[in-house]
Amino acid sequence: MLISGCHSGVNPSPGLGVAQSLREAYPHARLIAKDHSVLSSGVHCDVFDDVWICRQWNELHLNQHRRDLESRLARGAWFISGLDVEAHWLSRFSLSRALVPCRKFLRETVKPGFEAMKGTSVNMAETIDARAPHDEIYHFCQRHGWRVWIKGPVYESKAVCNWGELGRATETLRQSWGSNGLFLQAHIPGREVSVALAAYRGRILDAVFMRKSVVTNEGKTWGGEVSDVPETLLVELAGVFRSLEWTGGCELEFIQDTSDALWLIDWNPRFPAWVFGATLAGRNLPAALIAAAAGIDSFHQSTACRQFIRVVREVPVLTRLPLPPHPPPPQQRFAVSKHPSGMPLLMRKGVSITRAHVRPARPASQQLAEVAAEAARVGSTPHRLFLAGVADRRFSAAAAHAKDLSTESCRVNVAYSVKTNPDPRLLRRIVDFGMYAEVISAAETQRAMGVGLQPARIVYNGPVPFHLELPGLQVAAVFADSLPALAANAAKVPSQWIGVRLRPPRVQSRFGVPLEDPEQFQRLTALVGSLHPKVRLALSMHVQSSHVGISRWNAIASSFIRFGAAIQQTSGRRVECMNFGGGWAPSQDHQLWHEVLPGVVREVSRDLPTVNHVFLEPGRSLVEPTAILLTKVLEVRLIAGRREAIIDASISDCPTAEETPHPVAIVRGARLEVLEKGGDVVLGRTCMEQDVLAVDVAFPRDLAEGAMLAICDVGAYDASMSYSFGRGGT
């Protein structure tokens, strides 16, 4: 029997486990390890009678390799592949003694769609193609609270929690697998479980359910417990595998969530690396497969033990297959550390296993079309162009949404976060649309009042105690960042609401009174209970939803409201005002105003019916799309197939370039065309390595020096936090 995928390192392939299982069942069988490197550690194990070391996949002549394999099979050998990509390659040919699925049906099992499982009770985690437009990917990640994985088409996955990390992880995976087939998958919290099975011509011979007990840092199984597959699932799988006419091993990887529902996250067309653990439990799947294929009635089974765990042991290297000297040459280093059996190399030879398709390009957005003419008239660049129409629409929409959320007993108001961008043109819109301004300093307060905003429309919510910043000024609400500041504000500040910022549990922040500390909680409730009866109490929270995701923000808001109720009950003091700051992104608009905030307001009304005023503090979500950065291309160069455009702007003009995606458009006369996704990059004019304004864009073929580009969505912190650098001090 020929067995491939024999590496048994920290990220093992199943070959060694398959061999151990077959040896257990057929002590006198001749087992031959097939692999593509002497560094595949399992080939040196004495469970094998012989080793067939092939050249690395990128060197192999695939047709010759197939003929070599066919001649071995013709001599009576059976072949069990332990490599996903090899199984896909072999499925193209009708090799009767190669126990792999048929190609026609194998395509129904590829990630991320797992078409074959549609219609069963198994859930599928939501996914998005990594080649989708940046803003769609960003929105996907936000929607899932930045609990997402970037995954390769065969295996390898990385958890990412912000945009910069996603970019780096994507690039790492591209180096292994290329651009095709990468996708993002929403994280499903729960326990990792697997089903492993052997099937022959559509009939499941045996199947086991494995719950991981011990996992490595890479998430690989190190110990587990084997049991029967739940009956209902087994019945469904029998139907699926019958329709696939499956032959070979298979592993289905699931997450079992807290309600015991199963979420399919991976489908491997081979036995799992822990297959010998199942054999130890009395369920020898490889032996069952060989028995069915070869027409053998029975085989030896070991005594059952449901739980297994891995050990590390040294084995002597086969004399005729010595290890290369250390340090290994570059191509071997790559193979040793990641894929000794070289699957990415086989994929690069054109063995395709993906079904994903490229999304069509999007037309330029309406907002850009409106300003194209204005952009074309701009003289010197870089130039931040304010989009008045966009600003009007966004402020108007936010005011309308707040009004819709208001009830007879509870008024909801928007308090624009001035620090986001204190541009007077934006601040005037606070006045125009009847909003409040949220400020953190005397300077911001004066700026807001400078455009005509009354003090009664100002909410102070900064870490510097208000009585130190603006003594005597009567504003709408003052939130303290500490208990001493709360006491001082209550004594000295004549504002409508006196409040305190709270730090909810599980929130990492330097701001707010930490509620996880029982001492702080008790001091807070004692202080609140002792405030003058005329003080109208307010509570505030601020968590960046663009960092934690909107779902997590929503959970934190619930947590904050519940603590508010506890403070009210314990202190005996009515809470009359609640303030929610979110760091919301424009891409979250719909979810925010139609799902999350209505839920928050309902929860406030239910748990704190004494609250008659709610402030919402949008910043980015209001103003990010209200400006674009116009910049000229200074140079276009071609390096290793990728075009790089150097522009006259830099990261100093767009300091959040790495944190959030900024669509890039080209100005063509009176038209703006958003660039599609591609392999080109936009580089800034400074000497800093991180001065990269955009990646993965597709320049038009005729992009040349002098062309004007527009970097969009720079109306928020890109404006307020831009700085002068590399311009000689100007």
Partner: protein, 214 residues
């Protein structure tokens, strides 16, 4: 003497020891936190309940946050709420009391459960060393057997799931036999309930010790 006879003797020896421990534990109630009925304990309970409700909003499911916050170790009894939330170490009884209080902030029936668990004499000797003589607590170790407290929640079909706040896992997911397994259980009920609880394949009548086979 052959191995089989020794094995039979071992079983009856263990069974006998379990019976003796259960007789000792017959009148032992579950650990309960006390209340000073003053601001200190009122505030402590208010904070704990707020934390429990907050945790259930952030991470729905069993109160795993309790064990993340408190280490397991010796605890002086009687234990008051105000002391419990300030200390960094709690024993299984205190952890179980907190777990029950956390479960109770959400809807559903919650019960205290007492267990006898089996380890080995080396482990028990170690714990006897860790628990200093001056700690005010009831005896909880006998040779290779230990007394343990956990919490249970019941669903609409009288099926209970037992949460072990010391090991931070459901008992159903732990080993059914061998080192660290439960060999006896008692579900404590203060109402007049007489119907048994269903747990795994066993029926647990209220307030009665039941020996568990592995």
């Amino acid at each position: 003497m052959n191995g089989r006879f020794t094995t039979v003797q071992r079983h009856s020896s263990l069974s006998g020891r379990i019976d003796r421990v259960l007789r000792t534990l017959e009148d032992r109630p579950a650990s309960a936190l006390r209340d000073h009925k003053e601001a200190c304990c009122v505030g402590a309970q208010a904070w704990f309940h707020a934390m429990a409700r907050s945790a259930s909003a952030l991470e729905p499911g069993p109160p795993a946050w309790i064990r993340e916050r408190w280490r397991w170790g010796p605890t002086n009894w009687p234990l008051y709420w105000c002391d419990a939330i300030r200390t960094s170490t709690l024993d299984c009884g205190a952890l179980a009391a907190l777990a029950c209080a956390a479960f109770a902030t959400e809807a559903g029936s919650v019960y205290r459960v007492q267990l006898v668990e089996r380890f080995d004499e080396t482990a028990v000797r170690n714990w006897n060393g860790v628990w200093p003589d001056k700690v005010r607590t009831l005896r909880w170790t006998w040779q290779d057997l230990t007394y343990h407290e956990v919490a249970a929640i019941e669903d609409a079909h009288h099926l209970i799931r037992i949460w072990d706040p010391t090991d931070n896992c459901w008992l159903e997911e732990k080993q059914a036999d061998g080192y660290g397994s439960a060999v006896a259980a008692r579900v404590l009920v203060h109402s007049g309930r007489s119907s048994p609880f269903r747990w795994r394949e066993a029926l647990l009548p209220p307030n009665l010790w039941v020996k568990i086979d592995g």
